[in-house]
Protein backbone atom coordinates (compact mmCIF):
# COMPACT_ATOMS: atom_id res chain seq x y z
CA UNK A 1 0.00 0.00 0.00
CA UNK A 2 2.73 2.39 1.02
CA UNK A 3 4.66 1.67 -2.16
CA UNK A 4 1.52 2.09 -4.26
CA UNK A 5 0.77 5.48 -2.68
CA UNK A 6 4.35 6.56 -3.21
CA UNK A 7 4.09 5.60 -6.88
CA UNK A 8 0.86 7.51 -7.24
CA UNK A 9 2.51 10.63 -5.88
CA UNK A 10 5.16 10.30 -8.57
CA UNK A 11 2.62 10.55 -11.38
CA UNK A 12 3.04 13.79 -13.29
CA UNK A 13 1.08 16.71 -11.89
CA UNK A 14 -2.21 16.43 -13.71
CA UNK A 15 -3.09 20.03 -14.28
CA UNK A 16 0.20 21.05 -15.82
CA UNK A 17 1.82 20.60 -19.19
CA UNK A 18 -1.78 20.17 -20.31
CA UNK A 19 -3.87 21.82 -22.97
CA UNK A 20 -5.97 24.64 -21.60
CA UNK A 21 -8.07 27.49 -22.93
CA UNK A 22 -8.54 31.06 -21.75
CA UNK A 23 -12.13 31.68 -20.61
CA UNK A 24 -11.78 35.42 -21.23
CA UNK A 25 -9.46 37.71 -23.17
CA UNK A 26 -6.38 38.58 -21.13
CA UNK A 27 -2.64 39.11 -21.35
CA UNK A 28 0.36 36.88 -20.85
CA UNK A 29 2.62 38.63 -18.32
CA UNK A 30 6.34 38.31 -17.79
CA UNK A 31 5.97 37.51 -14.07
CA UNK A 32 3.18 36.27 -11.76
CA UNK A 33 1.98 39.75 -10.76
CA UNK A 34 0.03 42.64 -12.30
CA UNK A 35 3.07 44.97 -12.24
CA UNK A 36 4.96 42.87 -14.77
CA UNK A 37 5.10 43.58 -18.49
CA UNK A 38 2.37 42.28 -20.81
CA UNK A 39 4.06 39.99 -23.34
CA UNK A 40 1.13 39.00 -25.54
CA UNK A 41 -2.62 39.34 -25.92
CA UNK A 42 -4.78 36.28 -25.43
CA UNK A 43 -8.18 36.00 -27.05
CA UNK A 44 -11.11 34.31 -25.37
CA UNK A 45 -11.03 30.59 -26.11
CA UNK A 46 -7.40 30.67 -27.24
CA UNK A 47 -5.56 27.40 -26.77
CA UNK A 48 -2.53 27.26 -24.47
CA UNK A 49 -0.29 24.84 -22.72
CA UNK A 50 -0.34 25.20 -18.94
CA UNK A 51 3.04 24.55 -17.32
CA UNK A 52 3.00 25.35 -13.58
CA UNK A 53 1.10 27.28 -10.92
CA UNK A 54 2.48 29.92 -8.59
CA UNK A 55 -0.08 31.31 -6.10
CA UNK A 56 -2.94 32.73 -8.16
CA UNK A 57 -1.01 32.54 -11.43
CA UNK A 58 -0.28 29.84 -13.97
CA UNK A 59 2.71 29.81 -16.33
CA UNK A 60 1.59 29.12 -19.89
CA UNK A 61 2.91 28.84 -23.43
CA UNK A 62 0.75 29.94 -26.36
CA UNK A 63 0.76 28.54 -29.89
CA UNK A 64 3.33 31.09 -31.08
CA UNK A 65 5.71 30.12 -28.31
CA UNK A 66 5.08 33.12 -26.02
CA UNK A 67 5.69 32.01 -22.46
CA UNK A 68 4.52 33.85 -19.36
CA UNK A 69 1.87 34.09 -16.65
CA UNK A 70 -1.93 34.40 -16.60
CA UNK A 71 -4.41 34.40 -13.71
CA UNK A 72 -5.21 30.79 -12.76
CA UNK A 73 -8.94 31.48 -12.68
CA UNK A 74 -8.88 32.37 -16.38
CA UNK A 75 -7.87 28.86 -17.44
CA UNK A 76 -10.01 25.81 -18.09
CA UNK A 77 -8.50 22.48 -18.94
CA UNK A 78 -9.49 20.47 -21.95
CA UNK A 79 -10.17 16.77 -21.67
CA UNK A 80 -7.40 15.16 -23.67
CA UNK A 81 -9.39 12.03 -24.32
CA UNK A 82 -6.39 9.90 -23.43
CA UNK A 83 -6.09 7.35 -20.65
CA UNK A 84 -7.31 8.80 -17.37
CA UNK A 85 -6.22 8.06 -13.83
CA UNK A 86 -8.71 5.69 -12.30
CA UNK A 87 -9.16 3.85 -15.55
CA UNK A 88 -5.60 2.91 -16.35
CA UNK A 89 -2.22 2.07 -14.93
CA UNK A 90 -1.74 1.96 -11.19
CA UNK A 91 -5.23 3.19 -10.35
CA UNK A 92 -6.78 0.46 -12.47
CA UNK A 93 -4.58 -2.10 -10.76
CA UNK A 94 -5.76 -0.88 -7.36
CA UNK A 95 -9.36 -0.92 -8.52
CA UNK A 96 -8.96 -4.43 -9.85
CA UNK A 97 -7.49 -5.53 -6.53
CA UNK A 98 -10.61 -4.30 -4.82
CA UNK A 99 -13.25 -5.47 -7.25
CA UNK A 100 -11.59 -8.51 -8.77
CA UNK A 101 -12.40 -7.19 -12.22
CA UNK A 102 -11.37 -4.44 -14.57
CA UNK A 103 -12.34 -1.62 -12.21
CA UNK A 104 -14.32 -0.09 -15.03
CA UNK A 105 -17.82 -0.29 -13.53
CA UNK A 106 -19.35 3.13 -13.66
CA UNK A 107 -22.65 2.69 -11.91
CA UNK A 108 -22.83 -0.68 -10.21
CA UNK A 109 -22.16 -1.10 -6.54
CA UNK A 110 -19.08 -3.24 -6.29
CA UNK A 111 -16.51 -0.60 -5.52
CA UNK A 112 -16.10 0.95 -2.11
CA UNK A 113 -17.51 4.42 -2.20
CA UNK A 114 -20.37 4.67 -4.63
CA UNK A 115 -23.88 5.63 -3.65
CA UNK A 116 -25.05 2.07 -3.15
CA UNK A 117 -22.18 1.07 -0.89
CA UNK A 118 -22.59 4.21 1.18
CA UNK A 119 -26.18 3.37 1.97
CA UNK A 120 -25.77 -0.36 2.49
CA UNK A 121 -22.34 -0.89 4.08
CA UNK A 122 -22.17 -2.56 7.47
CA UNK A 123 -20.82 -0.25 10.20
CA UNK A 124 -17.19 -0.80 11.21
CA UNK A 125 -16.99 0.53 14.80
CA UNK A 126 -13.47 -0.86 15.31
CA UNK A 127 -12.19 1.27 12.43
CA UNK A 128 -13.94 4.33 13.91
CA UNK A 129 -12.14 3.74 17.19
CA UNK A 130 -8.87 3.50 15.33
CA UNK A 131 -9.57 6.79 13.58
CA UNK A 132 -10.34 8.51 16.87
CA UNK A 133 -7.07 7.14 18.21
CA UNK A 134 -5.16 9.05 15.52
CA UNK A 135 -6.69 12.36 16.69
CA UNK A 136 -4.26 15.16 17.52
CA UNK A 137 -4.60 17.49 20.51
CA UNK A 138 -4.84 21.21 19.83
CA UNK A 139 -1.39 21.64 21.40
CA UNK A 140 0.22 18.93 19.28
CA UNK A 141 -1.35 20.40 16.15
CA UNK A 142 -0.13 23.89 17.05
CA UNK A 143 3.40 22.60 17.53
CA UNK A 144 3.27 20.81 14.19
CA UNK A 145 1.98 23.99 12.51
CA UNK A 146 4.78 26.07 14.01
CA UNK A 147 7.30 23.66 12.45
CA UNK A 148 5.81 24.40 8.99
CA UNK A 149 6.33 27.23 9.66
CA UNK A 150 2.68 28.28 9.66
CA UNK A 151 1.47 31.43 11.40
CA UNK A 152 -2.20 31.82 12.32
CA UNK A 153 -3.91 34.87 10.80
CA UNK A 154 -7.06 36.75 11.67
CA UNK A 155 -9.26 36.60 8.57
CA UNK A 156 -12.98 37.44 8.59
CA UNK A 157 -15.48 35.28 6.75
CA UNK A 158 -16.76 36.95 3.57
CA UNK A 159 -20.33 37.98 3.04
CA UNK A 160 -22.22 35.85 0.54
CA UNK A 161 -20.83 36.29 -2.95
CA UNK A 162 -17.41 37.18 -1.57
Amino acid sequence: MRAALALLLLLPALAFGRPATAVRATEIRSAPNFDSAALARLAEGQRLEALERDRGWTRVRDERGNEGWVRMFLLRYADEGTAQPGDSGIMAALNAARTGSSGRQVTTGVRGLDAQQLTSAKPNPAELKKMQGYGASADAAAKFAAQGPLTAQKVAYPKEGG
Binding site: M91, V106, Q117, K122, F144
Partner: protein, 275 residues
Amino acid sequence: MSRLPGMLLAAALLAAAAPAAAQFNLNKLLDAAKNVSKATTEIGEPEEIAIGGDLSARLLGAAPLVPNDDLQRYVNRVGRWLASQTERPNLPWAFGVLDAPEVNAFAAPGGYVFVTRGLVARMRSESELAGVLSHEIVHVLKKHHLHAIQKSAQMELANTAISTFSRQDQNTPLREKLLSAGSEVFARGLDKSDELEADRLGVVIAARGGYDAYGLPAVLQTLQAMNPADSSLALMFKTHPAPAERLDALEKMQSLLDAYAAQPQLAARFAAAGR
Protein backbone atom coordinates in the same frame (compact mmCIF):
# COMPACT_ATOMS: atom_id res chain seq x y z
CA MET B 1 -32.26 22.19 23.28
CA SER B 2 -35.96 22.82 23.58
CA ARG B 3 -38.11 20.09 25.04
CA LEU B 4 -41.00 18.20 23.61
CA PRO B 5 -43.98 17.75 25.88
CA GLY B 6 -43.48 15.14 28.56
CA MET B 7 -46.19 12.99 27.10
CA LEU B 8 -44.22 12.56 23.88
CA LEU B 9 -41.01 11.85 25.73
CA ALA B 10 -42.74 9.13 27.71
CA ALA B 11 -44.23 7.71 24.55
CA ALA B 12 -40.82 7.66 22.90
CA LEU B 13 -39.23 5.91 25.84
CA LEU B 14 -41.96 3.33 25.75
CA ALA B 15 -41.51 2.85 22.02
CA ALA B 16 -37.78 2.34 22.37
CA ALA B 17 -38.47 -0.97 24.03
CA ALA B 18 -41.68 -1.74 22.16
CA PRO B 19 -42.43 -3.87 19.10
CA ALA B 20 -43.32 -2.60 15.63
CA ALA B 21 -47.02 -2.19 16.33
CA ALA B 22 -46.37 0.23 19.15
CA GLN B 23 -43.87 2.04 16.92
CA PHE B 24 -46.63 2.62 14.40
CA ASN B 25 -48.86 4.06 17.09
CA LEU B 26 -46.05 6.36 18.17
CA ASN B 27 -45.77 7.71 14.63
CA LYS B 28 -49.49 8.47 14.59
CA LEU B 29 -49.26 10.10 17.98
CA LEU B 30 -46.36 12.27 16.85
CA ASP B 31 -48.12 13.25 13.65
CA ALA B 32 -51.08 14.42 15.69
CA ALA B 33 -48.92 16.17 18.26
CA LYS B 34 -46.73 18.10 15.86
CA ASN B 35 -49.57 20.36 14.89
CA VAL B 36 -50.04 21.28 18.54
CA SER B 37 -46.49 21.59 19.80
CA LYS B 38 -44.46 22.58 16.69
CA ALA B 39 -41.16 21.80 18.33
CA THR B 40 -38.32 23.49 16.50
CA THR B 41 -35.61 21.53 18.19
CA GLU B 42 -31.96 22.24 17.64
CA ILE B 43 -30.11 18.96 18.12
CA GLY B 44 -27.68 19.13 21.02
CA GLU B 45 -23.94 18.71 20.61
CA PRO B 46 -23.65 15.27 22.28
CA GLU B 47 -26.37 13.94 19.95
CA GLU B 48 -24.72 15.62 16.95
CA ILE B 49 -21.46 13.82 17.81
CA ALA B 50 -23.27 10.49 18.28
CA ILE B 51 -25.02 10.77 14.91
CA GLY B 52 -21.70 11.65 13.26
CA GLY B 53 -20.05 8.64 14.90
CA ASP B 54 -22.75 6.29 13.59
CA LEU B 55 -22.42 7.69 10.09
CA SER B 56 -18.64 7.56 10.18
CA ALA B 57 -18.67 3.91 11.29
CA ARG B 58 -20.80 3.07 8.26
CA LEU B 59 -18.57 5.08 5.93
CA LEU B 60 -15.61 3.13 7.32
CA GLY B 61 -17.57 -0.03 6.62
CA ALA B 62 -17.65 0.97 2.94
CA ALA B 63 -13.94 1.83 2.90
CA PRO B 64 -11.48 1.36 5.77
CA LEU B 65 -8.61 3.69 6.63
CA VAL B 66 -5.39 3.55 4.61
CA PRO B 67 -3.20 1.32 6.82
CA ASN B 68 -0.51 3.92 7.36
CA ASP B 69 -0.21 5.34 10.90
CA ASP B 70 2.11 8.18 9.90
CA LEU B 71 -0.19 9.36 7.10
CA GLN B 72 -3.25 9.27 9.38
CA ARG B 73 -1.47 11.18 12.16
CA TYR B 74 -0.22 13.74 9.66
CA VAL B 75 -3.71 14.41 8.33
CA ASN B 76 -5.02 14.73 11.90
CA ARG B 77 -2.41 17.35 12.80
CA VAL B 78 -3.19 19.42 9.72
CA GLY B 79 -6.93 19.08 10.27
CA ARG B 80 -6.84 19.80 13.99
CA TRP B 81 -4.75 22.92 13.42
CA LEU B 82 -7.34 24.18 10.94
CA ALA B 83 -10.23 23.32 13.27
CA SER B 84 -8.50 25.35 15.99
CA GLN B 85 -8.96 28.44 13.80
CA THR B 86 -12.75 28.10 13.83
CA GLU B 87 -15.70 28.86 16.07
CA ARG B 88 -15.99 25.21 17.14
CA PRO B 89 -12.43 24.34 18.22
CA ASN B 90 -13.45 21.93 20.97
CA LEU B 91 -15.38 19.31 19.03
CA PRO B 92 -13.70 15.86 19.12
CA TRP B 93 -12.23 16.43 15.64
CA ALA B 94 -11.03 13.29 13.88
CA PHE B 95 -9.64 13.06 10.35
CA GLY B 96 -9.03 10.01 8.21
CA VAL B 97 -7.73 8.97 4.78
CA LEU B 98 -10.06 6.32 3.36
CA ASP B 99 -8.53 3.43 1.44
CA ALA B 100 -10.54 4.03 -1.72
CA PRO B 101 -9.45 4.93 -5.26
CA GLU B 102 -12.44 7.23 -5.73
CA VAL B 103 -11.81 10.98 -5.63
CA ASN B 104 -13.92 12.38 -2.83
CA ALA B 105 -14.10 13.85 0.67
CA PHE B 106 -16.78 13.62 3.35
CA ALA B 107 -17.76 15.24 6.62
CA ALA B 108 -20.04 13.85 9.31
CA PRO B 109 -21.70 15.81 12.13
CA GLY B 110 -19.69 16.43 15.26
CA GLY B 111 -16.21 16.77 13.73
CA TYR B 112 -15.52 13.72 11.53
CA VAL B 113 -13.71 14.46 8.27
CA PHE B 114 -12.63 12.02 5.56
CA VAL B 115 -10.62 12.30 2.38
CA THR B 116 -10.01 9.42 -0.01
CA ARG B 117 -6.63 8.06 -1.02
CA GLY B 118 -7.65 8.81 -4.62
CA LEU B 119 -7.98 12.51 -3.85
CA VAL B 120 -4.84 12.72 -1.68
CA ALA B 121 -2.87 11.13 -4.53
CA ARG B 122 -3.84 14.06 -6.78
CA MET B 123 -2.74 16.78 -4.35
CA ARG B 124 0.64 18.46 -4.59
CA SER B 125 1.06 20.25 -1.26
CA GLU B 126 -0.11 20.54 2.34
CA SER B 127 -1.91 23.76 1.38
CA GLU B 128 -4.04 21.75 -1.09
CA LEU B 129 -4.84 19.21 1.63
CA ALA B 130 -5.65 22.11 3.97
CA GLY B 131 -8.02 23.56 1.38
CA VAL B 132 -9.99 20.32 1.10
CA LEU B 133 -10.06 19.67 4.88
CA SER B 134 -11.21 23.25 5.47
CA HIS B 135 -14.08 22.79 3.02
CA GLU B 136 -15.21 19.70 4.97
CA ILE B 137 -14.71 21.48 8.32
CA VAL B 138 -17.19 24.13 7.18
CA HIS B 139 -19.82 21.43 6.61
CA VAL B 140 -19.38 20.46 10.28
CA LEU B 141 -19.32 24.06 11.56
CA LYS B 142 -22.49 24.97 9.69
CA LYS B 143 -24.15 21.61 10.45
CA HIS B 144 -24.98 21.15 6.77
CA HIS B 145 -25.35 17.36 7.02
CA LEU B 146 -27.10 17.49 10.37
CA HIS B 147 -29.74 19.85 9.01
CA ALA B 148 -30.20 17.74 5.87
CA ILE B 149 -30.61 14.63 8.03
CA GLN B 150 -33.14 16.35 10.25
CA LYS B 151 -35.08 17.45 7.23
CA SER B 152 -35.24 14.05 5.60
CA ALA B 153 -35.75 11.98 8.76
CA GLN B 154 -39.04 13.61 9.59
CA MET B 155 -38.33 16.39 11.99
CA GLU B 156 -40.63 15.53 14.84
CA LEU B 157 -39.90 11.84 14.97
CA ALA B 158 -36.16 12.48 14.82
CA ASN B 159 -36.37 15.04 17.58
CA THR B 160 -38.14 12.63 19.84
CA ALA B 161 -35.54 10.01 19.08
CA ILE B 162 -32.83 12.42 19.98
CA SER B 163 -34.37 13.38 23.33
CA THR B 164 -34.05 9.78 24.37
CA PHE B 165 -30.95 8.96 22.37
CA SER B 166 -28.60 8.07 25.19
CA ARG B 167 -31.16 5.86 26.87
CA GLN B 168 -31.75 3.74 23.81
CA ASP B 169 -29.81 0.74 22.83
CA GLN B 170 -27.61 0.77 19.74
CA ASN B 171 -30.09 -0.68 17.30
CA THR B 172 -33.40 1.03 17.91
CA PRO B 173 -35.39 1.77 14.77
CA LEU B 174 -35.16 5.51 15.43
CA ARG B 175 -31.40 5.55 15.58
CA GLU B 176 -31.35 3.39 12.44
CA LYS B 177 -33.58 5.90 10.77
CA LEU B 178 -31.16 8.75 11.43
CA LEU B 179 -28.26 6.64 10.20
CA SER B 180 -29.98 5.74 6.97
CA ALA B 181 -31.04 9.36 6.44
CA GLY B 182 -27.39 10.35 6.91
CA SER B 183 -26.12 7.78 4.42
CA GLU B 184 -28.70 9.02 1.94
CA VAL B 185 -27.30 12.53 2.33
CA PHE B 186 -23.81 11.19 1.52
CA ALA B 187 -25.15 9.42 -1.56
CA ARG B 188 -27.42 12.24 -2.75
CA GLY B 189 -25.33 15.26 -1.75
CA LEU B 190 -26.06 18.53 0.01
CA ASP B 191 -27.71 21.61 -1.44
CA LYS B 192 -25.52 23.42 -3.93
CA SER B 193 -25.58 26.53 -1.71
CA ASP B 194 -24.05 24.50 1.14
CA GLU B 195 -21.20 23.35 -1.11
CA LEU B 196 -20.47 26.85 -2.37
CA GLU B 197 -20.54 28.15 1.21
CA ALA B 198 -18.06 25.45 2.24
CA ASP B 199 -15.73 26.62 -0.56
CA ARG B 200 -16.10 30.29 0.37
CA LEU B 201 -15.51 29.84 4.10
CA GLY B 202 -13.04 27.00 3.58
CA VAL B 203 -10.47 29.19 1.83
CA VAL B 204 -10.74 31.61 4.76
CA ILE B 205 -10.03 28.86 7.30
CA ALA B 206 -6.99 27.71 5.29
CA ALA B 207 -5.75 31.33 5.20
CA ARG B 208 -6.29 31.61 8.97
CA GLY B 209 -4.18 28.49 9.39
CA GLY B 210 -1.34 30.30 7.62
CA TYR B 211 -1.56 28.37 4.32
CA ASP B 212 -1.44 29.64 0.75
CA ALA B 213 -5.14 30.35 0.26
CA TYR B 214 -5.03 28.98 -3.29
CA GLY B 215 -4.88 25.36 -2.07
CA LEU B 216 -8.58 24.65 -2.61
CA PRO B 217 -8.81 26.43 -5.99
CA ALA B 218 -5.76 24.43 -7.11
CA VAL B 219 -7.45 21.14 -6.21
CA LEU B 220 -10.63 22.23 -8.00
CA GLN B 221 -8.57 22.99 -11.08
CA THR B 222 -7.01 19.52 -10.88
CA LEU B 223 -10.51 18.03 -10.74
CA GLN B 224 -11.67 20.24 -13.59
CA ALA B 225 -8.80 18.89 -15.70
CA MET B 226 -9.88 15.28 -15.17
CA ASN B 227 -12.12 13.41 -17.54
CA PRO B 228 -15.64 13.71 -16.08
CA ALA B 229 -16.38 10.20 -17.38
CA ASP B 230 -13.65 8.81 -15.10
CA SER B 231 -15.50 6.36 -12.88
CA SER B 232 -13.52 7.40 -9.81
CA LEU B 233 -15.19 10.82 -10.04
CA ALA B 234 -18.77 9.61 -10.45
CA LEU B 235 -20.10 10.14 -6.92
CA MET B 236 -18.17 13.35 -6.28
CA PHE B 237 -19.43 14.91 -9.52
CA LYS B 238 -22.97 13.72 -8.79
CA THR B 239 -22.98 15.29 -5.32
CA HIS B 240 -21.11 18.54 -5.97
CA PRO B 241 -21.42 21.46 -8.39
CA ALA B 242 -19.05 21.16 -11.37
CA PRO B 243 -15.47 22.25 -10.56
CA ALA B 244 -15.67 25.01 -13.18
CA GLU B 245 -18.72 26.47 -11.47
CA ARG B 246 -17.01 26.31 -8.07
CA LEU B 247 -13.94 28.03 -9.53
CA ASP B 248 -16.12 30.77 -11.01
CA ALA B 249 -17.63 31.36 -7.54
CA LEU B 250 -14.21 31.50 -5.85
CA GLU B 251 -12.91 33.89 -8.50
CA LYS B 252 -15.02 36.56 -6.77
CA MET B 253 -12.76 36.16 -3.74
CA GLN B 254 -9.52 36.82 -5.62
CA SER B 255 -8.50 39.85 -3.56
CA LEU B 256 -8.81 37.89 -0.31
CA LEU B 257 -7.03 34.90 -1.84
CA ASP B 258 -4.19 37.11 -3.12
CA ALA B 259 -3.75 38.72 0.31
CA TYR B 260 -2.87 35.28 1.71
CA ALA B 261 -1.30 33.69 -1.37
CA ALA B 262 2.30 34.21 -0.23
CA GLN B 263 1.83 31.94 2.80
CA PRO B 264 3.53 28.51 2.73
CA GLN B 265 2.34 25.64 0.53
CA LEU B 266 4.53 23.06 2.30
CA ALA B 267 4.88 20.77 -0.71
CA ALA B 268 7.93 19.01 0.73
CA ARG B 269 6.30 18.19 4.07
CA PHE B 270 3.25 16.87 2.21
CA ALA B 271 5.37 14.69 -0.10
CA ALA B 272 7.23 13.23 2.86
CA ALA B 273 4.09 12.45 4.89
CA GLY B 274 3.32 8.79 5.37
CA ARG B 275 6.50 7.47 3.73
